[in-house]
Amino acid sequence: MIELREVTKVYKGQTVPAVDRLSLKIPEGETCVFVGPSGCGKSTTLRMINRMIEPTSGTILINNKDIRESDPDRLRMGIGYVIQQIGLLPHRTVAENIAIVPRLYGWPKEKIRKRVDELLELIGLDPETTRDKYPSQLSGGQMQRVGVARAMAVDPPIMLMDEPFGAVDPIARNYLQDEFLRLQREMRKTICFVTHDINEAIKMGDRIAIFNKGRLVQYGTPHEILTRPANEFVSDFIGYDRVVKKLGLYRVADLAGPAGCVAREGELPEIGRLMREKESDVAFLVDAHGRPCGFLTTEDIGGMGDEISPQSLMQKALGRRGAFAQREMVLRDALSLMLEYDTEYLGVLNGGDLAGVITLSAIRKHSCRKEGE
């Protein structure tokens, strides 16, 4: 656990503190994201945790031990550190870069070699081909991954990450974020993560600390912050789309209901009756193998659906072949899919199988729900 007590930092020659009486607790195994505009003190705070910057006053505790009691270099050896520019040593190979901290600890060569390969595999790089490359031979995304691997070399319980994915392109960034979330689900490290991007904060953080002008403005879970912004600064910072952003926190599986009515092609002429019987507003069409290939709603059959030709019903249903969402899809993307297909329903899939239905009204109700309801 990391705890900051009344931490203040005033830089030499400045009167306004860069960080002002900051108190904060980061529970073990959680990712805490520091977010705010540039110059808000988030990086300074991060760098005080591994004593790259010494606070002017206040105390920082790691596992209830004052960090001033340990030698700065020893302290840093035990804390993973990733920065935006990565800072790989250009004259050392990938393996040598990852081995820096193990070498500082004096690990035997064989153990280091094994650990390097293990880490390379963990971050999705082939040890055989990557090990002996130099940083200049890697792409931006690969370099960033090596940076993360290097920080995790001795499996430190705490990691400090200063805009770690800030320098890579948006597609690679998204990918790296997902990868890192996957790793973190297994590793459960205590992570401090600095970013200026609120979307990244919402995506990565178990908790978010919003900074402004050296002060902590709000500290809470992403849901709390999106639902109840503490003040105008926070709501401005989150943006007008905060409701949509909140939808990024939940998944389709959270709101899916049972698929009431499933029909085969042959049953199309009687579809209206079937739906009434099952009291369902939506009927899924499955192919010969039982795989969903579209759906119809009460609107389509116009109440007296029996008069519409089965062919046109078939076409309508097949037109929604893409209007299905995987259980893991976030609600924001599901909503986008609904708008794209101009429908109030989406089929929910578990792999290739139909697993239920999600409706626009369910999403709407969910987003209006207040905390605790």
């Binding site: 790259m52 700065p72 302290l75 550190y81 990565i86 800072g87 004259h91 500082l104 200049s136 031979q137």
Partner: protein
């Protein structure tokens, strides 16, 4: 040709001068390295001192070489001869060596240092394992300038009593011996160009490996 005959007739003398020349250059460069490389590293820790030291180096570098030799001679402990010559040459070498060591170390990417510090590497480790290796190309460039420059200026030390290749020129001028002058001048010019070319070829080779390879190779 008279010029070639002069060399043929005076091989032992020329060899003696060459030996004396290079022993002076060797000592001057060695002392300069021992003295100025640490100074260059040291001043990276303080911008104020860096400006002062580089300012002094710059000023010394402006002083005409014959002037500097002449001033050295008047200093009692130094006098005519090798000591004065060495002190003057070492003072000249201050500028290229201190400047290049300083710039080489300073120019190392700040994020690399930041990351290394964040991993718990101490000052000496960072200096020894990161800054100096990455600065070697720039430091070597300074070394190259120093060697070539020292070789040239050392010839002038003949006027304060050094018996080296410069003596061919000074003797030639006093005796009005054209062959001696021309051979001496060409020999010195040739040695300087050859040294510069050799060290230049070496300079290309000492770039740290990671900085030489690039994507796609």
């Amino acid at each position: 040709m008279n010029y070639i005959r002069f060399i043929q007739d005076n091989i032992p003398l020329i060899l003696e001068y060459t030996k004396a020349h290079f022993s002076l250059v060797l000592w001057a460069v060695l002392i300069s390295l021992v003295l100025w490389v640490p100074v260059g590293v040291l001043i990276t820790r303080s911008e104020k001192w860096a400006n002062r030291v580089l300012g002094i180096a710059n000023t010394i570098f402006c002083i005409p070489s014959l002037s500097l030799f002449a001033v050295m001679v008047t200093i009692p402990f130094l006098g005519l001869g090798r000591r004065s010559a060495l002190v003057a040459l070492v003072l000249y070498a201050m500028m290229p060596l201190v400047r290049n060591v300083y710039q080489g170390v300073k120019v190392v990417d700040k994020s690399v240092i930041e990351a290394a510090r964040g991993m718990g590497m101490n000052y000496w480790r960072i200096l020894w394992e990161i800054q100096l290796p990455l600065a070697t190309p720039v430091i070597f460039a300074g070394f190259r300038i120093t060697v070539v420059m020292t070789t040239g200026i050392a010839a002038i030390a003949t006027y304060i009593g050094e018996r080296n290749l410069g003596r061919l020129i000074s003797e030639g001028l006093t005796r009005f011996n054209i062959e001696m002058i021309v051979d001496g001048a060409l020999l010195i010019a040739f040695i300087a160009i050859a040294l510069d070319t050799m060290l230049g070829a070496l300079e290309k080779k000492i770039v740290p490996r990671g900085l030489r390879v690039h994507r796609g190779h």
